[in-house]
Amino acid sequence: MIRVMLPHHLRTLARLDGVVELQVERSPTLGAVLDALEARYPVLRGTMRDHVTLRRRPFVRFFACEQDLSHEPPEAALPEAVVLGEEPFLVIGAIAGG
């Protein structure tokens, strides 16, 4: 079970509190987690990555286990501690003005 922590605005959009727990069926890669998240909460499509290109939006970041995974490709494997549910996968709205 992978635990995902979303920023306030995305939790509000998805109408959820706290951490999302996701069962990722296929290999638990960065892309697979985002696919599973968007499948459970379709309202999040387009908010973290582009609808068509699937490129990460510039001010969205992915952190886990004190690592910045934002620049990893979609097929990158997640850290084992995330896959085991010991550490959360963090979706962050970058600190940038406003």
Binding site: V43, G46, T47, H51, V60, G93, A96, G98
Partner: protein, 371 residues
């Protein structure tokens, strides 16, 4: 009892202001979508309880929200805006060609007859349409691809379709305005488009009366006379009496030649409102006096409306989508400022009072007249 519902989009959320026909006591609802930029909200003329909102964020992109109960509850609908066909390029600041990139929806214009059909004006400039209540959006590709698209270029505020006007007497006729390209018209529901900028003069482009390149800030039309259009351009106020085929300047005695919104009185097609602003870069009212100017002669002769508006030390702006009129017997006029005030007049502009004073910067104001 009849009343009004004022839909206010701000830099940090949406607000819904309601009152009865006296328009003296107001209830303030919101903020909705707190923290998000709400460029525009607008209700369906065919179903006033159906309201659409453009919600966007530099972090999380574009959302479209829909209410089916007059703004009490909202549901996120489709947010996939994909340019149709070949993306194409437009003029960039350095003179090179730059690919179209979707940034946000500036303006939502619900159909006059079908609550599920809405037009969306986007940055980078394009027109989209939904026919399923906002679930899916399709670009009306002909606008960007009628031929002049590669010559369009962004102004300081971007390059966006910000005005969409449907002609109630000619089904299929739609006017749009783009900063900084100009006015375009379709007569076939959006398949094909023509530039409609003859007579406009823009001193800041190499050819002042070019076919495209004019920084139109806003257009307005009275539904009883759809052939007459009024326009606040970057410089000057203009008027067309032939559905945009030609334009003439009607700035007359206005104190500046700059401003953003323009509106037409609900019952007097020759009564027009503008808010003169000082430019080039100040973008606040001249002399620190917030004045709406009204012409009862369709332009050229303008009178300042000041009763109830700050007449000293006022340095706010009024943006292009931030003025509207209601349709009650005594026409109400409303506008919002970048200082967070929303002013209302229940007597066609003779007297004004703030409904609210301390909202986030106001981006848009629309009014629904309720039965």
């Amino acid at each position: 009892m009849s009343g009004v519902r004022v839909l206010v989009g701000t830099r940090k959320g949406a607000f819904v202001l309601t009152s009865d026909e006296k328009r003296q006591d107001w209830e303030v609802g919101g903020p909705y979508f707190a923290g998000w930029e709400i460029y525009h909200l607008k209700g369906s003329p065919a179903d006033p309880n159906r309201i659409y909102a453009s919600q966007s964020s530099g972090w999380f992109g574009q959302m479209i929200q829909r209410s089916d109960d007059g703004g009490q509850t909202w549901e996120a609908v489709g947010n996939e805006f994909v340019y149709d066909g070949t993306t194409g390029t437009h003029q960039w600041y350095d003179g090179t060609q730059h690919p179209w990139e979707f940034k946000r929806v500036w303006h939502l214009e619900p159909s006059l007859t079908d609550p599920d059909t809405v037009y969306a004006g986007a940055e980078d400039a394009a027109l989209f349409r939904t026919t399923d209540g906002g679930k899916t959006w399709t670009e009306l590709y002909g606008l960007r691809n009628h031929g002049s698209g590669p010559r369009w270029q962004p102004g300081a505020g971007g390059m966006a379709v910000h005005t969409i006007i449907q002609d109630p007497s000619h089904p299929g006729r739609i006017f749009v305005a783009i900063s900084a390209a100009g006015v375009f018209r379709t007569d076939d529901g959006g398949e094909t488009w023509r530039p409609m900028n003859r007579g406009l003069k823009s001193q800041y482009i190499p050819d002042p009366d070019a076919e495209v390149g004019h920084c139109v800030h806003r257009m307005a039309m009275h539904p009883s006379r759809p052939g007459v259009l009024f326009m606040q351009m970057h410089w000057d106020v203009n008027r067309s009496d032939d559905a945009g085929e030609s334009w003439r300047e009607v700035s007359g005695n206005l104190p500046t030649d700059f401003g953003f919104p323009i509106e037409v009185h609900a019952h007097e097609p020759e009564t027009v409102y503008v808010v003169p602003i000082k430019s080039d870069s100040e973008h606040f009212p001249p002399e620190g006096k917030l004045r709406v100017y009204r012409s009862r002669t369709g332009g050229n002769e303008w009178e300042p409306l000041t009763n109830g508006l700050p007449q000293s030390d006022c340095y706010v702006n009024v943006l292009r989508d931030a003025m509207a009129v209601d349709r009650l017997d005594s026409c109400g006029v409303y506008f919002g400022t970048t200082g967070g005030q929303v002013y209302a007049s229940a007597d066609s502009g003779d007297t004004w009072a703030p409904i609210v004073r301390d909202l986030p910067a106001v981006l848009s104001v629309e009014v629904q007249t309720l039965p």
